[in-house]
Assembly symmetry: D2
Homo-oligomer: 286 residues x 4
């Protein structure tokens, strides 16, 4: 069976009466066959968020006219919104440093068809990932970064990303801090994996910190990068039990499995348009 | 702040266009302030299920007229449905045998206001739980069961349950098998805790079975009782890691914590009208 | 079958050769039937820790002489050590404030024989737990604390604890900060439950902090109280998944189950002499 | 720092006094610097199992003589035992069918140095994995199996495995049932991943079975293959929560992450000589 092409509408706006009724009426009137619908109201913040996905086959409004058809509703309710189609493949760049387990995991998933995206380029501050990129037939750029070269290299990155039409950047254990200017250029479009259960152990060497503190559980956090390091909206977290028997090296070893799975889940949720950010939080329509 | 009185509408019917639009239009037209709304479509089975909860204050239809107001919609779509109000306190009976940890846990939760229900009676095939019932001021009935007395005792139970206006029966480690006649009298209204990760280790002595098999994880399952033992719709499951170091007694000890938490969650979900059964499965609107 | 009386030897000392050989030779020579033995070497810190438990029936040295018999070995290796017998029931006091779920859970476990201890007294800064204490037949002391009365009330607590021969104090959601003087009087003998996954969300209102941060997992931590608030050695941690659908109240509700289970596990491990503290960490011989 | 070469002694025998004392005395007398030591007694079965690992540098008995030096102890206690050295790299073959996620994961871990083994060959009943094998520079054999060719193909496999000096076979989602003759040839040396939480959903299509049953948690099991399908000793299990929102395809997708992690952990534990089988169970010295 061929997977149908679907439209995905993501909405956020001030909570007000008639939202659900109006959107569902829009779909009903036009003969929309709903595949997935979920909504969330944050009563404290007074925010309404919704995701609706429907089969575009048989929908009364054709693809080209769909934005225009929905715009009046969006304007009436003051919505922030996006409308995307499931056959538009997002383009993803991967940044990596010397630890390659997340890189390998993402590339294998991509080749096996688990991640719906194109991967036009891999950027690293080290040379070593080049053969991996080559195995997967992906363009590789070695952009080492020092305090002196950081501005230039980031400008280079921007040219590469924009040149390749990249929609989302994944920091797959990329150990350089990106500048505010870089981060704000791609709002909610840079996904980072932090190797701790945030907000515990933000910053450097979280497994060493965890070992020092003697915790009984370790974690990993997939989040959007913002100007404040390790403070961005959390998409996904995972944990694993540890004990006094685990050395720092054991934590690092066990943590790698968490990092891979948590980052891949966060990326997959983003690529399937299942994440909405509001304030410093996410709604994940899973 | 006083918690508002809400109406909870639970719907299941054949999937068809216009369902969400019609229900949300009904609420919108009458000024319904939606507190919670969730729906699920099983595309394989062609089943639609929905839960909507709204504040009755300010709703254009008053409480007395609400069933009548919704009935035409329900009939048009051929819905199985219920409408309940959050200030109607369900009445719950607890059945227990010689293991009292789930009983104690439910009673403590009830006294601390965690479970929204009345508990008019406790029934046991043993005498020992009587002092616990007395501590909590609950009527206790000792109804020992043998093959010869089973029919009479179940008839006695039915009289007690019906006399007390019981809505839901919780089997809190009740070790007697109830007859088909008894079980079918209370469809989706008897909640059992089975001390394994069903369908693994159905039947007797699941911790012994688990130990014998050498599993690395044990579980507990909260489910509705049906005529087929341990086969009813699953509401909630929980698991915990174990190792070769754990004897059968250790599994029993660790399992008690699972049983308490899993049963209490299943009961709480049921009491808050968050569970819908279709076929042999549940939808849990959490 | 009667449970045998066992001796439990807990050892910590600088790592050095011959430790395991000497201790196991001591047991072997005296005909010790080992029930449980586990050891841990922290190679970085150069610390050796061991727990050995054996049946005292048939042991060549009688109970009265066992300390003396082992002392030469302990002195030779410079051990910190303790020797306890499984039929010596530790005496436990519970401190509680207005949230009673952990209190109820501990008391139910105690009555059902899950916790091997006596509970001579319950202390609270509020009156409301008194009927619960009465139900379980335990002495209750209402000791409200203000800045002005804190010193006197703590002195009162010390008199009560010492008068009752209390071995371990459990802070079952006791919301007062104890003074340094009080805490240092009972080193590694005060167990606290903190309602977050430490070190995340130390301090006040952790569920509010967690909701504000938008985490996808919440936790609870059982630890020994030290002078630095929420910084003591961690005994046990637990976590549970949450989502954007969970309000602060939902986190509090879900968190209660974590707190109960994690605190009870920490207490049980302590009572069975399965925890050794070194530096600011624990070794848990489970 | 260079990792030291260690000796790993694995022992199982009937429980009897003097075991720990004798083994630790052997190590102590010879100046053994113990890196890891753990033991387990199954009191019901009367079985003792031990793992000891020590630095061979400075040990009084040299590597060549170590087996001879320990043999008298082994014979005295009737031990089943093995002695291995950490610089002997086990040789592992991977069997795979059409699902390649576990294969990719194992190969990436191997290339990144996470798995201490050589991988001389990959065998598949399909052609498609050949390019993956080529990327990693590993010999690939396409051995399609039908009822008519099974005996011959298995004979071919045996020649390949024995020719390559393979120590352990990993079934990384290999969907053919191996004959009894093949399985018994490699006792406790064939590791399979089953995509369910065994013993639930043994046999074919476990995710379909799980969906049909409406479970709230799915799992994966890494175990040694034995003549009885899906009944062998369990090494490792993992689980993940699911809900009514998950279709069979979602279960398959979520399950892949479990399968990868659980299989890799089982393989890693085996390669580091941390698993001992007795009866139909394992002791995992982690």
């Amino acid at each position: 069976m061929k997977t149908p092409v679907t439209a995905v509408l993501l909405i956020s706006c001030a909570d007000q009466t008639g939202l659900v009724a109006t959107v569902s009426d829009f779909l009903y009137r036009n003969g929309g066959n709903i595949i997935h619908a979920d909504q969330h109201t944050d009563h404290e913040e007074g925010v309404f968020l919704q995701r609706v996905e429907w089969d575009i086959a048989g929908f009364a409004v054709d693809r080209a006219g769909m934005h225009e058809a929905f715009r009046p509703i969006a304007e009436r309710f003051g919505m922030t919104w996006s409308l995307q189609f499931s056959d538009e493949t997002p383009r993803m760049a991967i940044f990596v440093s010397k630890m390659h387990h997340c890189l390998y995991d993402l590339l294998a998933r991509w080749r096996l068809g688990e991640l719906q995206c194109d991967i036009p380029l891999i950027i690293s501050n080290h040379q070593d990932a080049e053969p991996i990129a080559a195995d997967f037939g992906i363009e590789f750029h070695h952009l080492p970064v020092t305090a002196a070269t950081k501005d230039d290299q980031e400008a280079h990155m921007v040219r590469l990303l924009d040149g390749a039409g990249v929609d989302v950047v994944v920091l797959a254990r990329y150990m350089q801090v990106l500048s505010d200017g870089f981060v704000t250029r791609y709002p909610n479009r840079i996904i980072n994996i932090h190797h701790s259960f945030l907000p515990a152990f933000a910053g450097a060497k979280p497994y060493h910190q965890a070992h020092e503190r003697g915790v009984k559980i370790i974690g990993a956090t997939g989040h959007y990068a913002t100007q404040e390091l390790d403070q961005g909206p959390i998409i996904e977290q995972g944990v694993a039990p540890v004990s006094h028997r685990d050395s720092v090296d054991d934590l690092i070893r066990k943590g790698r499995d968490l990092e891979k799975v948590v980052l891949a889940r966060a990326v997959d949720l983003h690529l399937r348009h299942r994440v909405l950010v509001y304030g410093n939080k996410t709604v994940v329509f899973d």
